[in-house]
Symmetry: C2
Subunit: 335 residues, 2 copies
């Protein structure tokens, strides 16, 4: 089978590609080819696989050509992030709404009715004076996005449902939780600290937590997130039930619990590199986010959240140890 | 003030324009000019008013020019109807999604931050295996559109909320109920019979009702619908509360009650012109529609549903008597 991963050079996309290449099959079919469409070139290890083709450039300009490929399956992960969309309204519309629309139309014209997994987001939820935000948002909580990013994700969920109803694709929308621990640098997103308070102290760097220890948040490891995307792809139309998007499983955890897990896994000295210094701007944004999410429909597909935040930290450490930058990334870890 | 009504030559749009011209003011400001944008020319009585300008043509092609006008307020009613969108997927996307997007961007560029009332629809609701459809849908019922029409209306609600959040417009979305009694010919829409079973017998014509007398539906008279659009325009941002769309008030009434009201208002001979003959296709579509709607948020703005279906029929008869075709439209009514 021939697969397309948009955003295939990104953090989640590249991990998904690696996982699929290692499996060799998807939905019991052999993976012959994976096209990675992204504005950046994919990591070298992916390019080295003979089954991988990279298409580098803005997605919107690539959609017409992609229509000629005849994909059997698509993971549509490409997206401008929340902070970018708030700064540049047109960029958000173009990258997250128009590009999805163009991709759907290209697939409709190609006529192969591919299975289509869309990475939506927990950002579709938010408080609204008309509907108080529950402490834990469910699959069926009424969305009320508070950002352009969340708005476009939600609009695309409904657009994908309609293309599916008409038989043009077999679409499913999986709402991703905050994926942590992300490698690399802080990215300026308001949620960046959820990775930073683990990543920086492990690298021997001081980190500032801008919210109180009591703040709770729904998170997921990269591994569980990728497993969720694959399970949503492989679910039968019937098992999936209904046309609404589903929440991927979340570990609902407080900042205090995250840091306790860090101490448990990496020791007191690492934990001590995190200090609390309230940032009113970030704390205000985070106060509008759900403190947790449930995922009954994903559970019906056999998906579970990470067992503990300690497991999430161990996954990050394992990933670092396998990668080329282990010495730097784990400089703070006594071993 | 300068107003734009898209779909301003249509049934609801023309009535809204007449009502506004007769009032002379909106939100305590004098109405200097009303632009009616529609693919068809407006009725002659509207064109005869010096305050009215018609712009005839497809909305999508007109948006750029409309941006130059600097409107203080917009009623965006233009829309391809549900049946058309199901037959022509691209037409639906173009007329109901792309046109709204282009209009919003034109208004954003114009920079006047107009009050913007969008006519959404009760068609955003539908049954979903994940969420049973309640007998009466509320403002906060989780939408699950079953048509492209309902999908695009819902997407536009969220898009308008985001343009509003960013301060580009002051948007509000009002979900219209089935507006009845519509004058003219049956239009092939699945809901057409809700007007037909009243309109045809009053004109002395036999009418077939394709669903059982027990079928319930949320309806609104043209007069109350227009009053609702105006009240939603005039509500302060604060009174409106929150960013979600609201349901306009509905009279939830069964087909049997509609026909009893017809007999009460027009007599037994008129009622006898309606016979029941089940149409499986139409009955199947109608079974997916909510049987009623509530409108708590509209009630907070002072809006009420029609008092009775007899009142709705009397409004239709009054309208006919004022119009040029009274003799034909009311041929079946003994007077």
């Amino acid at each position: 089978m021939k697969l397309l991963i948009t955003g295939g050079a990104g953090f989640v996309g590249a991990r998904l590609a690696r996982t699929l290449l290692a499996r060799g099959t998807l939905a019991e079919r052999k993976i012959e080819r994976i096209v990675l469409a992204d504005q950046f070139a994919p990591p070298a290890d992916l390019l080295a696989d003979a089954r991988v083709t990279a298409r580098t450039g803005a997605l919107l300009g690539q959609c017409a050509a992609l229509a000629d490929e005849g994909f059997d399956g698509v993971f549509h992960l490409a997206s401008a992030v929340s902070g970018e969309c708030e700064l540049d309204f047109d960029l958000g519309l173009r990258s997250n709404l128009d590009s999805t629309r163009a991709l759907l139309d290209a697939l409709r014209l190609a006529g192969k009715k591919p299975t289509f997994v869309f990475s939506s987001s927990v950002a579709v939820f938010g408080p609204d004076p008309a509907v108080p935000l529950p402490a834990v948002v469910a699959d069926t909580t009424l969305p009320a996005p508070q950002t352009s990013y969340g708005t476009h994700k939600l609009m695309c969920e409904y657009l994908i449902a309609d293309y599916t109803r008409k038989g043009y694709i077999d679409g499913r929308s999986a709402r991703l939780m905050t994926v942590t621990v992300r490698p690399g640098k802080p990215n300026g997103a308001a949620s960046s600290f959820f990775s930073g308070i683990i990543r920086e102290p492990l690298a021997g760097v001081e980190s500032v937590c801008p919210v109180a220890p009591e703040v709770s948040h729904p998170v997921s490891s990269p591994g569980r997130t990728v497993a969720g995307l694959i399970a949503v792809f492989e679910a039968s139309r019937e098992a999936f039930k209904g046309r609404l998007a589903l929440n991927l499983p979340a570990l609902n955890v407080t900042v205090g619990e995250m840091l306790a897990a860090l101490e448990q896994v990496a020791g007191q000295a690492v934990r001590a590199r995190v200090r609390f210094e309230r940032d009113e701007r970030i704390a205000g944004i985070v106060a509008n986010w759900p403190g947790g999410a449930s995922a009954a429909r994903a559970a019906a597909l056999g998906l579970q959240a990470d067992d503990s935040f300690a497991d999430i930290i161990r996954q990050y450490i394992d990933d670092c140890e396998k990668g080329p930058n282990a010495a730097d990334a784990l400089k703070g870890l006594a071993r």
